[in-house]
C-alpha cells in the first residue's frame, strides 16, 4: 500500500498499480481534478503539479516516486480553503483564462518560479512557462498576471 502526501494530507492508496502516473491517481482516486490530461507525454503541461516544490508533469511521473515526497496541486495552492493564493487572485483580476483548461498547470509552473524568483523578468517567465501550452493563446495575460502577482506579493510582504 502506498501513502501519498498531497496538499499536506496523507492518503492511503489501496489497490493502485505503483506505475500509475500521479495524474490519474490524483484525478480518479483522490478526486482532485485540477491537474488536467492533455497529451500524456509531458508536452503540454496541463498536468503540472509540484513535487517538493518542483514542477513535474504528473502524466509522466509515477505515483510510487511521488509517494516519497510532498505533492502540491492547484487545490492546495492557497493556504486555506476559503482563501486565494496571490497568483489565483491575479488570474481572476486580470481575467486570464479563456477555456481555462491549461490554467492549473500554468499556475503551478508559476508558483514554482515565484518561489525561486519573487520578481521575475519576462525572460524568466518565458523560460519557466515554455513547457505549458495554452491553446487559446492567453500567454500575454498569463505574463501580465505573474507580474501583477509578484508585485502584490511584495506589497503584502512589506505590509506584514
Amino acid at each position: 500500500m502506498l501513502t501519498l502526501n498531497v496538499n499536506g494530507k496523507a492518503y492511503a492508496l489501496e489497490d493502485v498499480d505503483p506505475d500509475t502516473p500521479l495524474l490519474w491517481v490524483l484525478r480518479d482516486n483522490l478526486n482532485l481534478v485540477g491537474a488536467k490530461y492533455g497529451c500524456g507525454i509531458g508536452q503540454c503541461g496541463a498536468c503540472t503539479v509540484l513535487v517538493d516544490g518542483t514542477p513535474v508533469r504528473s502524466c509522466s511521473y509515477s505515483v510510487a516516486i511521488a509517494a516519497e515526497h510532498a505533492v502540491t496541486t492547484v487545490e492546495g495552492l492557497a493556504v486555506a480553503e476559503d482563501s486565494l493564493h496571490v497568483l489565483q487572485q491575479a488570474w481572476i483580476d486580470l481575467d486570464v483564462a479563456q477555456c481555462g483548461y491549461c490554467q492549473a498547470g500554468q499556475l503551478m509552473s508559476t508558483a514554482a518560479l515565484l518561489a525561486k524568483k519573487p520578481e521575475p523578468s519576462d525572460d524568466d517567465i518565458d523560460a519557466a512557462l515554455a513547457g505549458n501550452l495554452c491553446r487559446c493563446g492567453t500567454y500575454l495575460r498569463i505574463r501580465a498576471a505573474i507580474h501583477a502577482a509578484a508585485k502584490a506579493a511584495q506589497t503584502q510582504e512589506a505590509g506584514a
Binding site: K36, Q43, C44, E75, I92, Q98, D126, L133, G137
Partner: protein
C-alpha cells in the same frame, strides 16, 4: 433541466394556447415551438406565478422549481429572496458567453453584477432556440432576446414596487438591483419584490422599453469570467472532471483509417488484464459524426483502460476505409491547376479582355495543409443509461444536436435523452460534432453503471474533423492607372461522394469579389474520405491568407503602397447588401484598415530586415484589420514583434473577453501558420501528439495591441473573425522585410521558423 415543463408541457401549453386564442385548441408540442412563440403563448396566457413555476431557468429539481415566491418571467432569469440568478443558455468553450450573455440580461434588468449568480441552462430546444457555440453567433443571435428578457423583468419589478407604494410607475427608477422612488426616498430591493412581481402579467417582450447605449453601466466594461474562481482553484467544471457514483472508465479504439471495420480482436486477452471489466466490439451506424466501428474497453480506472488499450490487437477490414494520401494529392492538385478549368462558380464582367488590356499581370499558386483542432481537452463524455433513458455530461458546442445524435444512435426517442452541458476545454469547431457523445452512449448502453469515455490525445488527433487543405491558382491584372482591374481564381479542393468537404467551398461573395467588376472563380474537387470539419473561422482562415497575400502581390506589381491599394479596392463607403450585417460594409472596412495602419506606424522607416505587413478580412460579421511587425533573418528565422488589431464588431459586451479573444486569435493564427500540418498516408494521420504537431509557446508570443471601433451597428461575435487576417499580415510583412513571398502554409514548408 426543467422537469416540470418537460413532464407536463403538453397539458400546460394546451390550456394556455386555448386561453390565448380564446377558443379550444389542440395539444401543442412544446418541442416544435420556437422560443418566441412559446414565450408569447405563456406571456399572454399565464400569470407570473404560473410562469415562475414553469419556465424558470437552470438545472434544478422539480421540487425547487415549484417554489412559490420566485419571480421567473422568462427562461433567462429568476429572482427570489435568496438572490438573482441569470442563466447562460449557450455552451462555454472559452469564448466567454457564460459571462457575456448574462451581462446583457443584467444590463437591462439594472441588476448590480455583484448581485448576480450565473447558472448554465438546461438543454431544452423549447426554451432556447439556439444553444450552440459556433459561427461567432451567440452575441448577435441572443442580443435582442436577452435584452428583452431583462427589460421585461425590470418593468415588472417597477410595477410591483409602484403598486406597493401606491405611486405611478413613471416616478420610479431602477439601479443596482433596486427600485427607487426618489420623491419619497423609498427603495425596495429586487429580492424583496420577487413575490409581488411573480403575480404580475408578463408584458410583451417586444413592447418593453430598452435602454439606449448611452445609459449602459455594465456593457462595455471589463468583467472577469464567472467561472474564474472555480477555474483557478481546480473545481470540476469540465467534461473530463465529471464523476458519477460507481462510475466506470472506458476507452474506444477505431480503425486508424476512417471507415474501417472490426474483423476480430483479442477481447479475451484484454478482459483478463488488470482492472478491466469488459471489452466488446461496436459495429457502429456508419455515420462518422455518430458511431463508427471499434472496440470498447471498460475498466475500473482511466489508467487501467489506457494500459489495456496498449495491449489491444484489432484486425481491421479496410475495404471501405479511407486511402487518402497527402503527397499524392499535392501531385494531383498541381496537375489540376496546370490544366486550368474547373467548374465555374462566378464569371462577371470581361475578365479575358481586362487581362488582355492590362499592362501588368501576375500569376501565383498558393497552398495550405490540413490542420487539426488540437483543443486541449481531448474528447470525452460521461453517460449513464438506466431504464431505457440516458443522461450525458458532455463538453460539446452543439448540445441540442448531440441529444438528437445520441437518440438516433441508440434508436430511442429524444425525450429519453438528457444532456448536461459542461464547460469545454476549447472547441474551435471540433465539438460541433458529437461522435464522442454517441460512442459514450453506445458503451453506456452495455454497462450497468455510469461510464466516462476518455479519448487519448492520439485518438483525438487521429479522429479529428480536419481543417481541409487546399490549392489556389490566381491571376490578377492591374490597369494603366495602377488599379486592380481583374481577378481570376481556380480553387482545387476536396469532395466526398460528390459533396464538397466542410470548410472547402468558396463562394463569389468572398472578398475581394464583391468589389471587382471583372471576376472569375472556378473550382475543382478531388476525391477525399478523411473527415473534414469547421475549424475556427471555417474557410476564412485560409482564404484570407490566399486573397490578402495575392492582393499585396498585386500592389507590389502595380508599384503602389499596399494601404492605398487596398483602400482603393473598397472604393466609396457602402454596404454591399444594405442592412445585412453578414455582408461587407466598405466604410467599416476602410475605417479599421486606416486605424490599424495609423496605430502601427504604417509608412515609418523600419530597420533593415524588419517590416510591417497589413491584411484585412471580413468574416462572421466582423470587420478586422491587422498589422504585423516582423523581423526576418538571413537564415529564415522570423520574429513577430507586435500585432496591431483593429476590429469593428459594433458595441463591445465584455471588453475583457473581447480583447482576450483578439489576442488569442492572433496567437492561434500564428501558431497554425508556423508549423501545423497534418499529413495523411494510406488514410492514416501521421501526426499523433504535440511532439509532432507544434503549438506556439509563450516565448514566441508577440505583443498584441487591440483596439475596437465600437460602432453603432448591432454587436456581433468575436470567437473567430480576428483569426483570418493574421497569416496574410505576417506573410506580407515577411515579403516586405525579406523579398520572399510565402505561398505555402505552414511557412515551415518554405523553410521559415521562429
Amino acid at each position: 433541466m426543467n422537469r416540470h415543463l418537460s413532464y407536463h408541457s403538453d397539458n400546460f401549453l394546451a390550456e394556455h394556447e386555448a386561453a390565448a386564442t380564446g377558443g379550444a385548441s389542440g395539444v401543442v408540442d412544446v418541442r416544435k415551438l420556437g422560443r418566441r412563440r412559446f414565450l408569447q403563448l405563456t406571456g399572454v396566457a399565464g400569470g407570473g406565478l404560473m410562469l415562475g413555476v414553469s419556465v424558470a431557468c437552470g438545472e434544478r429539481s422539480s421540487a425547487t422549481a415549484a417554489n412559490v415566491g420566485e419571480f421567473a418571467p422568462n427562461a433567462y432569469l429568476r429572482i427570489s429572496e435568496s438572490g438573482i440568478v441569470i442563466c447562460a443558455p449557450n455552451p462555454e468553450v472559452g469564448q466567454g458567453v457564460k459571462t457575456a450573455l448574462p451581462m446583457i440580461v443584467a444590463e437591462e434588468l439594472d441588476a448590480a453584477w455583484t448581485d448576480v449568480r450565473v447558472e448554465q441552462s438546461a438543454i431544452d430546444a423549447a426554451l432556447y432556440a439556439r444553444q450552440v457555440a459556433g459561427g461567432s453567433r451567440s452575441i448577435p443571435a441572443e442580443w435582442d432576446v436577452l435584452r428583452q428578457a431583462g427589460a421585461a423583468a425590470r418593468s415588472m419589478l417597477v410595477s410591483a414596487a409602484a403598486a406597493r407604494w401606491g405611486v405611478a410607475e413613471a416616478q420610479c427608477s431602477t439601479a443596482d438591483s433596486t427600485v427607487h422612488h426618489t420623491a419619497s426616498g423609498r427603495s425596495l430591493r429586487y429580492v424583496e419584490l420577487a413575490n409581488d412581481a411573480a403575480r404580475l402579467r408578463v408584458p410583451d417582450a417586444k413592447r418593453v422599453a430598452l435602454k439606449s447605449r448611452a445609459d449602459y453601466t455594465l456593457l462595455g466594461r471589463r468583467i472577469s469570467g464567472v467561472d474564474n474562481r472555480s477555474l483557478v482553484t481546480g473545481q470540476p467544471l469540465f467534461g473530463i472532471d465529471q464523476v458519477q457514483p460507481g462510475m466506470r472508465y472506458a476507452v474506444y479504439q477505431k480503425c486508424p483509417a476512417t471507415g474501417g471495420s472490426v474483423v476480430s480482436a483479442n477481447l479475451d486477452a484484454v478482459k483478463k488484464l488488470p482492472g478491466v471489466l469488459d471489452a466488446f466490439v461496436l459495429k457502429g451506424n456508419g455515420n462518422v459524426g455518430e458511431l463508427m466501428p471499434g472496440v470498447a474497453i471498460v475498466a475500473r480506472s482511466t489508467w487501467a483502460a489506457l494500459q489495456a488499450k496498449q495491449q489491444l490487437q484489432v484486425q481491421w477490414d479496410e475495404t471501405g476505409a479511407a486511402k487518402d494520401s497527402w503527397d499524392a494529392t499535392i501531385a494531383q492538385a498541381n496537375a489540376a491547376m496546370r490544366s486550368g478549368g474547373g467548374d465555374v462558380i462566378a464569371d462577371r464582367g470581361q475578365v479575358d479582355a481586362a487581362f488582355a488590356a492590362a499592362p501588368v499581370t501576375r500569376e501565383a499558386h498558393y497552398r495550405y495543409a490540413f490542420a487539426s483542432h488540437a483543443q486541449l481537452e481531448p474528447q470525452n463524455c460521461t453517460a449513464w443509461f438506466r431504464d431505457g433513458s440516458i443522461e450525458l455530461w458532455a463538453p460539446t458546442q452543439t448540445p441540442q444536436r448531440g441529444l438528437a445524435s445520441v437518440a438516433a444512435t441508440l434508436g430511442i426517442a429524444p425525450d429519453k435523452v438528457t444532456v448536461h452541458q459542461t464547460r469545454a476545454g476549447g472547441g474551435f469547431g471540433r465539438r460541433l460534432t458529437n461522435d464522442s457523445m454517441c460512442e459514450a452512449a453506445a458503451i453506456a448502453q452495455r454497462v450497468d453503471a455510469p461510464v466516462k469515455l476518455q479519448w487519448t490525445r492520439e485518438d483525438d488527433m487521429n479522429h479529428d474533423f480536419f481543417r481541409a487543405g487546399g490549392f489556389h491558382e490566381l491571376k490578377g491584372a492591374v490597369d494603366a492607372a495602377g488599379k486592380l482591374s481583374a481577378w481570376q481564381q481556380h480553387f482545387v479542393t476536396f469532395a466526398r461522394d460528390g459533396a464538397l468537404v466542410s470548410g472547402g467551398g468558396m463562394s463569389d461573395q468572398i472578398f475581394p469579389s464583391p468589389m471587382l467588376a471583372n471576376y472569375r472563380l472556378t473550382q475543382t474537387s478531388l476525391a477525399w474520405d478523411t473527415p473534414c470539419g469547421a475549424w475556427r473561422a471555417p474557410g476564412s482562415n485560409v482564404y484570407s491568407f490566399v486573397v490578402q497575400s495575392f492582393l499585396h502581390e498585386m500592389a507590389v506589381a502595380a508599384k503602389r503602397d499596399h494601404l492605398e491599394f487596398l483602400l482603393e479596392v473598397f472604393g466609396e463607403p457602402r454596404w454591399f447588401e444594405e442592412g445585412n450585417l453578414w455582408s461587407v460594409h466598405t466604410g467599416r472596412a476602410a475605417a479599421v484598415i486606416k486605424l490599424a495602419a495609423q496605430r502601427a506606424g504604417w509608412g515609418q522607416p523600419m530597420p533593415q530586415g524588419r517590416a510591417l505587413g497589413l491584411a484585412f478580412y471580413f468574416s462572421h460579421a466582423g470587420h478586422i484589420a491587422e498589422v504585423a511587425d516582423v523581423s526576418v533573418s538571413s537564415d529564415k528565422k522570423i520574429k513577430v514583434h507586435r500585432v496591431t488589431v483593429v476590429a469593428d464588431v459594433g458595441p463591445i459586451v465584455n471588453l475583457s473577453m473581447a480583447e482576450n479573444q483578439c489576442q488569442g486569435s492572433v496567437v492561434d493564427g500564428l501558431s497554425t501558420m508556423l508549423a501545423q500540418k497534418i499529413t495523411i498516408e494510406n488514410g492514416r494521420i501521421e501526426q499523433q501528439n504535440f511532439d509532432q504537431y507544434a503549438l506556439l509557446r509563450m516565448p514566441h508570443t508577440p505583443q498584441v495591441d487591440v483596439h475596437f471601433i465600437a460602432s453603432d451597428f448591432p454587436p456581433t461575435g468575436l470567437g473567430e473573425p480576428a483569426l483570418p487576417p493574421l497569416a496574410p499580415a505576417v506573410c506580407n510583412a515577411i515579403y516586405s522585410a525579406s523579398g520572399h513571398r510565402i505561398r505555402t502554409l505552414p511557412i515551415a514548408e518554405e523553410g521559415f521558423s521562429v
